[in-house]
Symmetry: C2
Subunit: 216 residues, 2 copies
DNA sequence: CCGCATCCGGGGCGATACTG
DNA sequence: CAGTATCGCCCCGGATGCGG
């Protein structure tokens, strides 16, 4: 990217991160951890392959990303964030919080979706209201890959993948899941809109906010 | 900007804010408040006038900026942030924090500078260590416009402009001022590097961090 | 299959000129 | 003062090729 040539911290940050697709690549690496080129491409629907290649090289030059050789038998190159790259997480958190209102209306017709994109909203909305309770897990299933919400000892974490013995399973469209997690939909209305909620309903009350999170 | 068409909060935010120059325009409006077109241009050295015009229109359509007619005798159009636009402040704070390490080496040869760009680093670095003390003010003078740091009752604020009776005046190059405020330079070394510090030196100790803020 | 490199068309961007 | 108009250029998007 052409430099703004301004002696200002925001401008300098944008000199590194302001290019198209750059921050979304960092998003994928933060959500998925060290990733192969092909996995990044799958998590970034719409990106041109030459752009992904260019951006990864620029991020590497900027000290945000390192590439490393995975040990055999995988023997492929992995892209992972440096500590400097991990530090971008708070930027993306704020950016995501600001962007959440745009998701309230549901996806645009051409919008694509990946299950792991639910991870941040979930972590941002949910808190463990019963820190002394037993560990619980909830699996979220969309048409895409599933993600697991795990709560234990007051902390809530979300990761891509499945749970062994989930206390509850929520299946349906992403915006309904978001509505449920943010507190804008109660269980009854969510089900009416087509959301399937199986298992122990009580675990939801342990995690959901008492009042709807600010979405506008 | 062409939409990423991803049902993800970060992507939706970047659909609105990801264009070149857009976040820097928001920076100016956050730092300077409601501004005229010409003032924005002066605060955004390097921007093409048609781009500024385009971006302001897009930001207006997105509900981030409103234009209003200033009352006579000024009778000019002012651009100001909506509450939705004000909410971008935390994004730029995080982005600025991430970008600060790039300023440690000083400005690049072609870098331009505006005094008000010191406002955020100053607010981020400084805290009022003596909340019960009398109000104090420090004026920062670069070759550009001056800014005033005001501390009272535990709060530190920075605004463009001059102080009536500043307790101290610091004059010099921006990166030396940054070094002094962040704690990386002590008064002796700062002076050796050409910084002028006049007035009551004690007020600095009231505001500066005990140990250097993390810059790398 | 994985990780790119290359080519090409279109549009966003940059610089300057000009106007009510 | 507050923009509009114009014109190159280069970035971006999309497709294809290609070595390991």
């Amino acid at each position: 990217m052409r430099s703004y040539s301004q002696f200002c911290a925001v401008a300098k940050a944008l000199d590194v991160l302001g290019d198209r697709w750059t921050l979304l690549i960092v998003r994928e690496l933060l959500l998925a951890g060290p990733s192969r080129y092909t996995d990044l491409r799958n998590g970034l629907p719409g990106i041109a392959t030459n752009l992904l290649s260019d951006r990864l090289r620029e991020l590497e030059a900027a000290g945000v990303v390192v590439r490393e050789q995975a040990p055999p038998p995988v023997a492929t190159t992995l892209f992972k964030l440096t500590p400097r790259g991990e530090a971008i997480r708070s930027v993306l958190h704020e950016l995501g919080l600001w962007g959440i209102p745009y998701m309230a209306e549901g996806p645009a017709p051409q919008d694509v979706f990946r299950g792991r994109w639910l991870a941040w909203p979930a972590e941002l909305f949910l808190t463990d209201l019963e820190p002394d309770g037993p560990p619980v897990s909830i699996e979220l299933r969309t048409e895409e890959e599933p993600v697991v919400i795990e709560a234990a000892a007051g902390a809530v974490h979300v990761r891509p993948g499945s749970a062994e013995h989930p206390d509850a399973v929520i299946s349906g469209a992403p915006q309904e899941i978001l509505g449920l997690l943010s507190g804008h939909l109660d269980v009854r209305r969510a089900r009416k809109r087509g959301l399937r909620i199986d298992g122990e309903l009580g675990v939801l009350d342990r995690l959901r906010p008492a009042q709807p999170a600010a979405l506008g």
